[in-house]
């Protein structure tokens, strides 16, 4: 089962996603797939603190900033007993686009990420994906950023289409966008 959770900055989407997956996957081994690349000491401390917080909630953390499907290789068993929380598509997309020597094309990156997520989902009982609403500030950015925003839109649409459930988190409140059968 795949769930897509979308919200803006500070919307409470992460807290909701954690609660949601804990509720959903009581008998599963729970993984947290972290995409943030640790660039400085401050970010490193933040990541460490979050890891500790999640450990108490029974999550195993996998750092996977690129090629998200490879997270499966780091899981104990691959017999559909696993659940994973992937956080988040906006970091993953930025990593895939901007961390190579050359900036990659948004369309290519979107295709790759959708494929990787599908593969990841197949190896899991539950996959919960957190993504970001980066679409409503009415600003025009440079062409690279616009390409990034389009790629994000593209990925969100495709993931929402294959997801069993889509939830928007608004001021911490879940608003159901798509409900599974």
């Amino acid at each position: 089962m795949m769930t897509l959770i979308i919200g803006g900055s500070g919307s409470g989407k992460s807290e909701y996603a954690e609660k949601y997956i804990i509720e959903l996957s009581k008998n599963c081994r729970k993984y947290y797939i972290a995409t943030m690349q640790v660039s400085d000491i401050e970010a490193g401390k933040k990541v460490k603190r979050h890891q500790n917080m999640r450990k108490n909630k029974g999550f195993w953390t996998i750092e996977q900033p690129l090629s998200i499907d490879e997270a499966l290789n780091q899981m104990e068993t691959s017999d559909q007993k696993n659940a994973a929380l992937l956080e988040c598509i906006s970091n993953l997309t930025a990593n895939e686009m901007f961390s190579g020597e050359k900036i990659k094309d948004g369309d290519e990156v979107a295709k790759k990420i959708i494929q990787d997520v599908k593969r990841l989902s197949k190896g899991l009982k539950h996959l919960v994906i957190v993504t970001n609403n980066v679409f409503e500030d009415g600003m025009s950015y440079d062409e690279t950023t616009m390409d990034y925003i389009r790629a994000m839109g593209n990925i969100n649409r495709k993931l929402a289409a294959i997801a069993d459930k889509v939830v928007e988190v608004v001021v911490g409140i879940p608003v159901i966008v798509k409900e599974g059968k």
């Binding site: 919200g7 803006g8 900055s9 500070g10 919307s11 409470g12 906006s90 609403n133 980066v134 679409f135 409503e136 500030d137 009415g138 600003m139 950015y141 950023t145 925003i149 608004v170 001021v171 911490g172 409140i173 608003v175």
Partner: protein, 132 residues
């Protein structure tokens, strides 16, 4: 306490005044009323709307205040108030540190208020959806 949120120019205030027209409201734009004003409003049996609440948060951060504690204290004394705020988190994360902090803190404050609110309404195209 009631919380009304939504994007820029979605008709939040108009919606709120229409929906809650049985009660008398005094609108404070981007600021909290003073003690004196509150006493006056109490006599007139008017309740407070804090409009453009996000602007108040921004101003308090700029003045190095503590908007998180200040608004909780205000609502503790004035639990019948209504807060109307733009949603500001639905965009590209700004490069500027202050802008980032403003968006993040506004989001967190609204989550806290939504948690405490009796009613949360999200307005889009002038239409309100009760989400709590």
């Amino acid at each position: 306490m009631k919380l009304v949120i939504g994007g820029y120019a979605q008709g939040k205030l108009e919606f709120a005044l229409q929906r809650y027209k049985e009660e008398k409201w005094a609108v404070f734009d981007g600021r909290l009323p003073s003690e004196k004003q509150l006493q006056e409003l109490c006599k007139q049996k008017k309740k407070v709307i804090i409009y453009h609440f996000h602007n108040w948060i921004r101003e308090r951060i700029l003045q190095e205040g503590n908007p998180e504690e200040e608004i909780i204290a205000f609502l503790g004394k004035n639990p019948e108030s209504m807060i109307i705020s733009d949603e500001v988190g639905n965009g590209i994360v700004p490069i500027d540190f202050f802008e980032r902090e403003y968006r993040e803190r506004t989001g967190r404050i609204l989550v806290t208020l939504a948690n405490q609110a009796d009613e949360v309404v999200r307005v889009i195209c002038g239409i309100g959806q009760k989400i709590k």
